[in-house]
Subunit: 130 residues, 2 copies
DNA sequence: AATTAATGATACCACATTAGTCTCATTTGT
DNA sequence: ACAAATGAGACTAATGTGGTATCATTAATT
């Protein structure tokens, strides 16, 4: 299993590239540099824009720019955008709420691991990658 | 995204239950206790048998028993059986091998996290869950 | 005002993975 | 012989991933 999907991967690369450019960056530039299919790249950028990671500018001379500082953009957040909340397991019983939640050892142990994972992921920002 | 699938989850629960029983356990017993669909449970147990986690006995009075000690059965191994090797990301370029592998910061950072994750997962055994 | 170069929004499609079901064969105790 | 158990493998449904395609909107250039 993969913990990081292409969506996320491309998004991270795009953000790194954009963070290194003071000017706004167009899809075409990113496509050329990263070798990602154009329509797919567009979709990813649009999503980052909706989630306020990027600012976008329409029309001639338009493109994308980081909305926040690269130091404030966390990998874990990008993962959440494209892969949903990262969770070890949602408990299995057909009816969503698990009666056993309190005393479930697996969940408890896994919870600890989850926390550590997050702690580490939180320390990785676009700035630290670029 | 879920890090643990139902397969794995059910397998872990089944193993926990079996580990608490000195006697061999039948599918029907597990189905009753865990509320997992019978054919699915069967498939999971068969797979655990093939991977030498369980011993199986056919015929009347048959069923399943742990093959190894609960202290020696690691969650990470069960995950690998049902979810394949756990990997943060396989690099994206269409042609599998990535020319950038050496100097890729993302991969490096992620590699560290991966290692830590494994270290933690390796310490969780069936014994520690049951 | 028309053109052109950019993004926004949305619907669609192909493939892989996950989560199962179903059927028949085989083994073994009674 | 029969019943009670697993083994093996084909099949199906739902979901997630990785895209494509189309049309609408905005804004600078001419
Ligand atoms: S959370 Fe439901 S049994 Fe663990
Ligand atoms: S491993 Fe290929 S770019 Fe990071």
């Amino acid at each position: 299993m993969k913990l990081i999907t292409r969506n996320t991967d491309y998004a991270l690369r795009a953000l790194c590239y954009i963070s290194k450019n003071k000017n706004i960056v167009t899809v075409d530039e990113l496509v050329e540099k990263l070798g990602v299919p154009r329509p797919f790249m567009r979709k990813i950028l649009q999503r980052l824009n909706k989630r306020k990671i990027l600012d976008s500018f329409k029309g001639q001379g338009g493109g994308f720019r980081l909305k926040a500082l690269p130091e404030k953009i966390y990998v874990i957040e990008i993962m959440r955008i494209f892969q949903g909340k990262v969770v070890l397991n949602r408990c299995f019983l057909k009816k969503d709420v698990c009666p056993n939640k309190g005393k479930c050892v697996l969940r408890k142990k896994i919870g600890i691991i989850e926390d550590n994972l997050f702690k580490q992921l939180k320390e990785i920002t676009i700035a630290s990658l670029a």
